[in-house]
Symmetry: C2
Subunit: 266 residues, 2 copies
């Protein structure tokens, strides 16, 4: 099923804008639990509370082949009616970008992927060409150093606004979205203004400290959705012990309800 539709249906079915980031940092995994087992239990405990899952490649690649196998197994244990976003932040010249698109969409089977915009259109086009798949371009990221380059002002606009405008221009198939950190509410509001109907993937609430109310208020579209709020550590590592899955369910449930309370007062 096309990514946008799958996402909208999951949002409605689970009444949720929460995405859980499956980032199994080895330092925080409970003793004698494998990555795959950990993720399988997190998914089993939360799949009726989320609109998407988002594994970040770094946490799998750091474990080499074994980690990549765990990533494959993780994707395959997620129910097929919940979209899975491959957080890869890839970006390379056209000939090479085609291979990355194949890796993310065909080989791993992700419904959507995150992409770095630095190399421009020909690095993004091979992803956009998969019209059934979603493409989230990094726009204004959630980290403290995001300002180093993304805030540089050219032609009267910061770089991240140039990226947002190009994303609109490149969105012929309607499958392009943007990554915008909840830690920068002013920028989030501005991007929503520039791109009224676009899906925004918003990390930064939870451990990174972004404010849920502000993210919902300034990030949602005119339907009260259009925003995917990603939380990783605050859900998956809610407990360091063997009750991690129950604790993750409780945390995800509270986050979903918090988000929905603010949606209700929009």
């Amino acid at each position: 099923m096309e990514f946008g539709r799958k996402l909208r249906e999951a949002v409605v079915r689970n009444n949720s804008l929460l995405c859980v980031g499956l980032d199994p940092n080895p330092q925080h995994l409970p003793a004698s639990v494998s990555i795959t087992q950990f993720n399988r239990e997190i998914v089993a405990a939360t799949h009726d509370l989320v609109c998407a899952y988002k594994p970040n490649f770094a946490f799998y690649e750091a474990r080499g082949i074994e980690g990549m196998r765990a990533l494959e197994e993780t994707v395959s244990c997620i129910p097929s009616d919940i979209p899975v976003i491959g957080d890869a932040k890839r970006g390379d010249i056209g000939n090479t970008a085609k291979q990355y698109a194949r890796a993310l969409y065909d080989s791993f089977g992700f419904d959507a992927a995150t992409i770095s915009p630095y190399l421009g259109f020909d690095s993004v086009e091979p992803f956009i060409a998969y019209a059934e798949k979603g493409v989230f371009l990094l726009c204004r990221t959630s980290n403290p150093s995001a300002k180093d380059f993304q805030d540089l002002v050219a032609e009267g606009k910061p770089l991240y606004e140039h990226v947002a405008l190009k994303a609109m221009e490149w969105n012929a198939h309607g499958n392009v979205g943007l990554v915008v950190g909840a830690t920068y509410i002013h920028e989030l509001a501005r991007i929503r203004e520039l791109c009224p109907g676009m899906n925004l993937l918003v990390p930064g609430i939870g451990t990174q400290g972004g404010d849920i109310e502000a993210a919902v208020r300034r990030g949602t579209d005119s339907t009260g959705a259009g925003i995917i709020l990603n939380v990783s550590r605050a859900v998956i590592f809610a407990s360091p012990n063997s009750d991690f899955a129950e604790a993750a369910r409780l945390s995800a449930s509270q986050l979903r309800d918090d988000i929905n309370r603010h949606r209700a007062s929009l």
Copy 2:
């Protein structure tokens, strides 16, 4: 051995500024030759002609687990006195970037890696912190769409110059370099001017059409080196048949000699 020293020694020992890009596009591999076998034969045929090898992750990831295993095997078949650059173009927030650095340097064992600058300092710092390893930041890339964002002028300078200046500022360990396409000679010259002593990783000669003479003339440092000229397709796919390794040797040898002819007339 520290990357910079390993590189300088290979440059002198093989009298070469040529880097061979190990990008085994499955569509171009000779019939019934595996990725590992192909790379092993290319390396055996060229290792006395190059200063480095550079596998690009995309061509391995597109084959899933099997491809990642081939990447591991490829790294292990390269003689230990030739530096291997992992062309990954990763870039993520600090907590996650640490995992990518671990993947590239500890798990795969690369001597250097390419990194995207879009997320700023905290996304690059975990790589720089490996003082023995090299870090090549994307600066002005070789592709036609590089201009989309990299040429935007902020505070009187294009974005790629901001990246070059930040790279200088972040280079406390002397292990930071830049990726600059040979297809943009004006930009290459400008970056060499801004960063006189930095290693530049320069793709774009060969199939992409960059001019060797201009790249050598404008890219080398005051010692006539400091530049790594990467060629992939024009070497590894010099012949589509079973004589691919011999053909690669011939092509690499001609490229090395061409480059050296232009170095001699500096």
